[in-house]
Every structure is written in structure tokens, then in C-alpha cells.
Symmetry: C2
Subunit: 267 residues, 2 copies
Amino acid sequence: MSETSREKPRASGGDMRRGLELLWGGHSPGGRGSGRRGPKQRHSTEEVVLTAIAFADAEGVAALSMRRVADALGVSPMSLYTYVPSRDELIGLMLDRVLGETAAPPPETIGWREALIFIARERWRLAERHPWILDLMGRRPPLGPNLVGNHEVAMRALDGTPLDDLTKDYALDAMHNYLIGAMKEARDAREAERESGLTDEQWFKLAEPALMDLLDPARFPRVLRLGEAFRAAGWGAADPEYKFEFGLSLVLDGIESLIRRAGTTAG
Amino acid sequence: MSETSREKPRASGGDMRRGLELLWGGHSPGGRGSGRRGPKQRHSTEEVVLTAIAFADAEGVAALSMRRVADALGVSPMSLYTYVPSRDELIGLMLDRVLGETAAPPPETIGWREALIFIARERWRLAERHPWILDLMGRRPPLGPNLVGNHEVAMRALDGTPLDDLTKDYALDAMHNYLIGAMKEARDAREAERESGLTDEQWFKLAEPALMDLLDPARFPRVLRLGEAFRAAGWGAADPEYKFEFGLSLVLDGIESLIRRAGTTAG
DNA sequence: CCGAAACTCCGTACCTTGTAAAGTGTTTTG
DNA sequence: CAAAACACTTTACAAGGTACGGAGTTTCGG
């Protein structure tokens, strides 16, 4: 519960160039500060972004406020606005920055399936390192070099297949959407565990007695059977990483049948 | 950007029963107010929840504050706390309430695939009516009657298949995770459009010239080709509902191959 | 070489949020 | 009829993003 989203009009033309500049050229050395008047900035936009990322890793985007980032840098809250036009833009920069941490499949990878598995696991690990990115995907993402680069890499994974470009994009989008959901599921389990001090197992056992009074076996026979199956299988059966791999194969099987169909119709 | 999540310790035993009571029995007539002292409540918990839902439909969960709900009901902010223990709990009630709006596949539905398609489309339409639910799934959801009921219905859709209960759950989970991602994608497109007054197409056309200067054809050949493919296909190719259906078939194909394998090994 | 422009940084201020605390008035119980 | 339990209100706090205006610093145009 209590996930919440705030909205901003979001760049409608004028600021768009500014935002893109920050994303694409912003951190290059000498790009800024060459012929500016006034005092030199005591920090750099990159430093601000890195500080904010470290903070978000430790406490989540929710807890990330301009004041806290400013504190961590030893400046006043308002001076951050000389580095970054708004909190939203800062978050965009943070997102594109960490997207640069994923590796492309190594050259010896053979076949699209192996390549996509590699990519999916990279994203999984990325979300483990920076769980907050899951709150930020979607919603007109920052078109930075790393977001674009990641899509390039993903498209390349499908290079040998008979799919046309549009279909490749759709398939990758479907996989990505699944990944988002699965990574969120795993993160939420981790967070709930940390916050409440209870593992899913402990929590469920706590809720169970109260729940058993409420669950009418005539109305919910399958759910009750499922509960028994989980008890019988031991709680390892609910391990998010296992479920992630399971769902990933399932989605890849879907892509496989897509490829097979395209192969038979096209030749 | 700017999606944000706040956290609460979340019921750890003592309040758990209270929360479940509200979810399962709360709205039944006469259940409350029978032998209580003090003045009668001017409204009901259900009224509060419905008001909050109407508000969230119109403005999103982000804009949903206790003060605004109280205003809409004509009471002071703090009196809401006599109906509902906290904002989080209120949101839990809202979520389970709207989950009750989805229909089960009609009896004449034949086969698991048709049934799952029906369920998926119901969820899609639900998210169109109440887009804010997408911010709330995951994260230890409220174990209300409708959440449980929906899972029962989904499990029933796989009744004729050779999958065991655990595998059914995994498959449904994978489908659900995909659905979440796809519905979020669609909602974000709609919201961004409303907020900025630009369709994705217009927005992209606006960003394009600036982007073209930045996209090195040697580094991003596939992404550039994809851009051309989209231009050639017309922008209907990016229609979220089309992509939703595409991904759904893909996931269902994955389930199909799962079922085929289970069928051959088990019998 | 100097004034003015451009810049950084800071303090203050406004508004919004969830909800704790304490007070007021009302209904039911004993 | 007194007291307990409740509904409801007012007030207050801390935290948030950022607009505004001021103070000090560096560079540019002449």
C-alpha cells in the first residue's frame, strides 16, 4: 500500500532541449564551466547525481528529498537548483545513470534465447542494486544515452531471428513488462520483510489463523488447496528468484513460438 | 518520473485482525453501530471508501489526501480516523473494493486460453476505470475477499489442464506480472498525454529533431531503424491496447508450451 | 581597468501532507 | 443521573518542493 505518485507538467518543448542536454552532454568534462561568469560551482552535476543515487540505494526514492541530498553534499537545499532544474529532472538523471551499469551479452553468447536470458538477469541484478528504479520506469522515461543503448542491445539480441523490427520491439516490450512486474514483486517482498521484520512466511503464518476463519471452503476451494500445496512444498517454493526464472522461461517460450511462426510463414 | 512511495511499518499482529475485519465484515449492515455509545456516525466506512474511490478515479492516488476526502464528505479531516485507522488502511479498502468489479469468465467459455483472455481483459478494463490500482498492487496487498476471489477465479480457469496447483500459481503469477507492466505502460501513456496535452506521437515528433542530433548511427543503428519502422507503419503501431493483446498472446503461448510439456510427461 | 552582467549560494517563506493531542458535545450503560 | 464511551473538531508539528530576493564572486565588454 501507500505507493503514491506526484505529477509535474513535464517538459513541453522549451525545457525539452535542456533536459536532453543534461542527459547526453551534461557530465562531459569541460562541457560546462568553460566560459561562465560568477563563482565556480563547488560541486558538479555528476556529483549531485551520484550522491542522490547513493542516498536512494540506502533509503529509497521516497525518502529522497532535496534537503537531504543537499545535506549530504554540505550545501544549502536551494543551491541544488543550480545543478539540476528540479527534483524530477534529478531523478531522470539518476535513472539514466544507473541504466548504464548493465552489461551487454558477451560475444560468445549463442542464440537469441541465451542473449535475452543474459539481458534479463542483468536487469534483475540492476534492480537488486537500485530497487528504486522500479518506481520510475514507464511514464515517459528520460531518453538518455543508456536507455537508448539498452534498447539497442536488446534489439541486437534478436538479430538472427526472422522477426521484423516492429515485432522485435513488441516482443522485447512484452518481456520487459513481465520483468518489471517480477522485479517489483521481488523487491516488495524484500522491503516488506525489512520493514516489518517478518519474512513472508512468518507474516503469512501470523495472518493465517485469522484468515482461516474467513475463507469459506465452498467459495475458495482452490485457494485453500494452494495454501496446502505451499505448506507441503516448504516456503522455498515462494522464492522470488525462482519465480522470476520460471516466468522468464515462460515468456521466452512465447517468443520462441512467435519466431517459429515467423520462420514458417517467411520461409 | 516522480513516482514515489512512502512506507509504514504495516500491521504486525495486533492490527492485523482489525484490518482483516474491516476488509471482510466491515461493510455489512448492522455489523457496526449496534450497541455503541456516543453519537451515531454521520457516514459509514463504505461511504468514505466510495468517496475516496471516486476521488482517486478523478485525480489519482497521489492527489488523494485525507483532507480532500473529508472535504468531499463535509466533515473535518480528523473525523475520518473514526472510520478508518489510517490513510494506508483506507487505500487497502479502496483496492479490495474495486477488485470486486471484475467478472468471472461466463460458463460458456471453453478452454483455459479463452478463460485467461477473458480474465486478462477484465483486468485491463478495471485498470482503465481505476488507473490508480496499478500503484498499489504488490507490497503485501490487502487480503480481502475480492483479491482472494479473483485468484480463485484465475485458478479455476486452469482447471482442465495437467498442471499441478503450484505450477498453476506460478503461471498465473507470470501472466499477472506481465499484465501489470502492460497496463502501467498504457496508463502512463494516457496520463502523460493528458498532463502535457501531447499525444505520444506529438511528443516524440517534438523530441525527434533534438534526438537526431544525438543519436550516432554507428552506435544505435537498430534503434534508428526502429524509429523509421514506426514512422512507416504509422503511429497506430504504438497503440497500447494492440501491444497489450500482442504480449498477452505471447504469454499465453508460453503457458501453452508449459501445458504441452506437462501433458506429455504426465500422461 | 572598471562597471555591469551573469552566476552561485543562502535565508526566508508559502503551501500541502499525515496524524498526534486535547477539547467539546452526545449517546448509552449502570 | 453520573460516568463511560464515543464522534467530531481545533490546533499543532515536522517534512516536503520550490518561488523569491539578497549577498557575494567571477568574467566580459569597452
